[in-house]
Symmetry: C5
Subunit: 354 residues, 5 copies
């Protein structure tokens, strides 16, 4: 299995702004849900078509349209036409190989982030692209498939917990990004749980399969950093640029989520340094083991090869070998052998090989 996210590019050479879905092919139908709320009321519905959105845009209050499934290009296109979104933005939404970024357009902000999740069966990390379009009163979020990290936000909307219902669309957009970043902490813990046993294993019992785990871990870390660095950049830019769509009292929250991103990145970099170090430790550990194997071989060979030679000498069939006829020849040779044996043992003991 490829561990890097699906990054197949469409047939290159299409006119810029052409909408083509790029990503994992899916067959489920696209799901559109809306939340319409202000401090007093909240309304939640699942729509059957894009056209229904139009009526919601008429009311006051904040509107959140969430689209699960972007493989149905026609839906994405309709939304784009409805809210008058630039064709390049639509292309980026449909093509899931984008890097996290933020782009300003007249009247709206366009944000791409990566939601990381662990595939339950294979323990592999995958990323899902979440595109957010923020206008003064509407937030539109596009996801690749159902199932996300926004449930706590929905819950807060429904129950008016926290301050989200008192704030505008910019705060809602912040909540979505915050939920995504918060989820990285869980991923970090999972990673730590994979690093921790490796540390033990590598020093105490360096098995070959450890190598594979370390390589997978390393690739996962590279992959994660690639999703996170642009996020940090993007949030930093949002902080610096003071875009009019972001109200002043939302800014400390943006700084907070930027802070969390930096925290995750620093953990990630610590992990990378530690895993890199583990590779060296592993190699050295193997060398250490080989050294021990060689020592054993050398001890055995060095002790017995000379003894075998002595035995070989007295196994020769010469007629005239006076020692053979001596009364104490045999015990004498055995004695000599014993002396050699003991001498060797002392020698190796001194060399600390035994």
């Amino acid at each position: 299995m490829r561990r890097t996210p699906s990054r197949r590019h469409p047939e290159t050479g299409l006119a810029p702004g052409t909408l083509v879905h790029v990503g994992q092919r899916r067959t489920e139908s696209t799901k559109i849900t809306v939340f319409q709320y202000d401090a007093a009321n909240v309304q939640e519905r699942e729509l059957t078509g894009v056209e229904e959105c139009r009526e919601y845009t008429k009311y006051a209050g904040v509107l959140w349209i969430n689209i699960d499934g972007i493989h149905d290009i026609s839906v994405v296109e309709s939304i784009g036409r409805l809210f008058d979104i630039h064709p390049l933005v639509m292309e980026d939404i449909a093509n899931t190989g984008q890097r996290p970024k933020i782009e300003e357009y007249d009247g709206y902000l366009f944000v791409i982030a990566k939601m990381i999740y662990e595939v339950a069966e294979t323990k592999q990390l995958r990323s899902e692209q979440v595109s957010i379009v923020l206008t003064p009163r509407v937030v539109i979020s596009f996801q690749e498939q159902e199932g996300d990290v926004f449930d706590p936000v929905r819950e807060r909307l429904r129950t008016a917990k926290g301050i989200v219902r008192q704030r505008g669309s910019d705060y809602l957009a912040y909540c979505l990004v915050d939920a995504i970043v918060d989820h990285y902490f869980l991923i970090m813990e999972n990673l730590e749980d994979r690093i921790f046993p490796l540390e033990e294993q590598v020093v105490d019992d360096p098995q070959p399969q450890v190598l594979k785990s370390m390589h997978l871990l390393k690739s996962d870390l590279v992959f994660l950093r690639r999703s996170l660095w642009p996020l940090r950049e993007m949030l930093g830019r949002l902080d610096r640029d003071r875009h009019p769509l972001i109200r002043k009292d939302t800014r400390p929250f943006l700084r907070d989520v930027q802070d969390h991103t930096i925290q995750v990145i620093e953990m990630l970099e610590s992990f990378q340094e530690i895993v890199s170090g583990l590779m060296d430790v592993h190699l050295t550990s193997i060398s250490n083991r080989m050294n021990n194997v060689m020592k054993l071989l050398t001890v055995i060979a060095t002790i017995f090869i000379p003894l075998t030679f002595i035995a070989g000498v007295y196994g020769m069939n010469f007629k005239h070998m006076p020692e053979l006829a001596w009364r104490w020849g045999y015990p004498a040779v055995l004695g000599v052998m014993l002396l050699v044996f003991i001498g060797m043992l002392i020698f190796f003991r001194r060399k600390k090989w035994l």
Copy 2:
């Protein structure tokens, strides 16, 4: 074969601005094609000489002159004189060892990019220099040889697909650069297809030829990064400088192609990290295997060398070796040997060598 692009410099010491072709020698004749278009009409022709260009410059609309083959210096020179291009620009067009860059001159922009393609037979990466001169109404592109990635652009010109026919020369130049960058995604996929089996092989079956593949891959990555980094820089500068030749509505497109470049570079850097890691994995894997080889040798030697010694002792020809005459001497010795053998097996089993 050299994997780095031909970077032979001409006899150093020529006066600056002297036109000398530097690159692979080619014998095909130079081919000049022009596209003359506006929103309503498009005209496409292959010219027999540079002089014919002159008449096309008189009409309104955008003119795209494409020259395939720069080894015929006289053609390049004529074009240069016709459009009054700085001698240093002409020198850079003829010398294919340039790095991607953008330079501003009075009345025109000069862009150099690298088109990467894979030689079909050898699977090696090669680069071809594409030089683009952008004036308010004319785009001139110079390529080393026929065959390029611009066919989709030509198709769109002919069929008025997309918006290219409604826009000016700056949008055409963008389309050319975009086509080049888009092509990098294909190269990336090919690279991924080379990395993927290596990852499997290195851990499971580290053959020596893997080493060669990895080294080739690494050099290709170094070579690609060298073509891409200046492109990123160049596009960034174009974005910042807001050159009057680039109309305002073309700018989002430039930002988009810059984005794609960054995406390719980040993939490339991930690949580099992964391939670097693979090298370590490979070395460790070999050490692991050697360890196994050594273990086998040690087990065999450690078991049989002492046994052979015992057999050697009783092969000695001393007259007075009472054991030899014993009735159960032989079975006793065989028994001792068996005990040693079993003891050794248990010892190695405990050490987990067997």
Copy 3:
């Protein structure tokens, strides 16, 4: 044991600004102590509840409130309400996984630093988060548990040693940060005391357990750098921004503590380079040793295997082996063996293996 600080994130998905304690669970009760002082007087008391603080805020002079134990969320919350602190600040105080930072709010500065200490039994490094809120007349410090590095500051407050009693709350905050940074020097010395014997060992006697020590040391260095770099950044920003809360005569002191931080970081980086180097030295040292082992084995085998072969030849039982019957056959063969033996010795001596 995990060496990285407890960085368990709470159930992600809480509303931003929700107070949840994240860190090691503790059962001791929270302790609140106050210092109220001016140049002339100093008063020190341990409070039983947050409400008592209120009366202290009425007096002139500087007030230092120190809270040991943040696991009792209600205490932190009361303090927050009393001094009107932003919910995000309160959240950061309670969540001990923050990175050192400084944040400006209307009317107060919020500082997070990491106090490093060595767990006595295990010699492991741990960090404790110290959060400081600086208002014009009050300093509030939050610590995870009792026992800190502020005793010298307290002593100076009590005895009016130094100038702390003549200065304002900003100088007190500086004193606290300075005490934390000063403590890093002790940690550095402990690290040096761990590196020093490793250097000796690695070259002279590379035992496998050295590997484990080196890996632990490396992880500790990574961990420390992660606590220190943001501190440096934070102090640098404080210096640049010239916040009105920091009086002009306190600035040289801030520069001084920033200087100390840089000094510690540079030591740390030297240590990292040295430990990295040690890893290579260790690996090379092991290879050297293996080389010696192999040489011994080769010398022994190369000398005795041919001799044993000769003995084996004359141990064959052929009827017609004329040498066996020769009068001087046996001594002659022994002589040949001796010659081979001496020849080999000379050969190895020349190769400098003996």
Copy 4:
């Protein structure tokens, strides 16, 4: 031989501005040549003393004074007095251990560059310091010895080829720097010719002397980069600062030579990456080979040691060894040995060692 340039410093502790020649001691006499030219005329002469320069400075047109040999301090000093040059500049000219740089003084620019050449016999790279003083009408160049890369410039001056005779002293200075940078391309090709065979050798036939070549190559690359980076910096600064001595129409040329420098640096860095990679490949290749050696040894030993043991058993001299008397004992044992032999072969074939 030292590969780094002679960087012996004089007795440290001299007053700043004291002229002491630092560099290779030479005995040839110093040679002074002048070119006096304008668009119409050119005059070329070799002078016998510095005083003769004085009269040339009176004429209109550009004057180029070239001094070959700076070991004769008196000549350098006279020139310095004649053109009123700052003592620190004179010190830098005489001390050949400078790094490339550009310095502005009232009325003149001072440029130091490094000319790299290959010593014909030893194939080693050496650098020669070229110092250029540029005043509005005079260019003075100082070289360590005769023989340089300026002949093409001289030729163009004599034959009025190119535009050098129409331009001022700034263009001449540019030509000199350009000639130096152009020469680097030749050096690059030589380096590539050294890297190319190494790549083949390292993978296919890793001989120990390859190691030496690689180390030499690496040191040469480090040495070259050290000469080139400051040159890049210096040209970049010249471009940014828009010094009044550099006329506007000379600037594109300066940008061009800066471009060439960047090109050379990027090649250099690619080379460094490739050579670094080769080191790893070499080490891995050696491990691979050793693995093969070990496999052969293990196969032979594992097959024959047990067989020899069996032969040893039946070479024992026990009186009561019933097998010895059996009619088919000998063939049976031979048969067993054959079975063991074949079994081992199959075993190793399965392990793919044979």
Copy 5:
């Protein structure tokens, strides 16, 4: 011995500005010398106490006070009071673990630099902290012990050589820093003299003690870079900030000494790269040697083990071994052995192992 400079911090927790000597304990008494000079006169004296300084401050001209030995805190304190120096400066002077820096205070500049010297007996590098306080007319320098690199400056003061007597205190301070930096060149040469033989040894004869030398060298390079980088920074800042205490005609000299610092740092970095490379070369060299050892063992074992087996077969005591009775059995077996022997030799010759 510790190679890093004594960096023992005093009992942490002292009030900032408290004077405590940190460094090597010394018993010699503190020595105070003054130079009072202007263009016409120079007066040099050794003082017995700090109070004597007071009268010198009354005269016109430049005053240089040099203190050898800072372990006598009372002397440092008196100087501080006499010239009204900030307590933090005094603390830094007394604590020798500072990093090179420059600090501006009202009316004076405070400079810390590191003087490197080689301990004659052990060839180890040590650093001594030199603190310089520069006021408009007075330069005060503090050194840890007698013996420094300022003798040439003193000589120039006495003999009015150079321009130092015509300039102000800023030029004197420059001279002191210049003398310190100049001394680094000597250290560089010593380092080169240590690297040079290592290069030879590592490739041609990799002995284990080389490893120790390399590690020492590496640590020394790390240590030196740590002293030099801040110096470079400090001089750069002095150049940029144009402090009023630095007269305009002193600035080119400061730029010159900054240049020298950069030169030393670049040498240092080249050295680091070369030494890092040497480590790899060493490891590879050892692997190469081991490979040779293994080849010899394998050749010997592979040739003689099968031969010994053959001899063993005919040493068996079976009654019915027809070959034993053959007339030419023995010569035939010897012949077979010879054939095997020659075959093996050819085999190994082909594999280029012999």
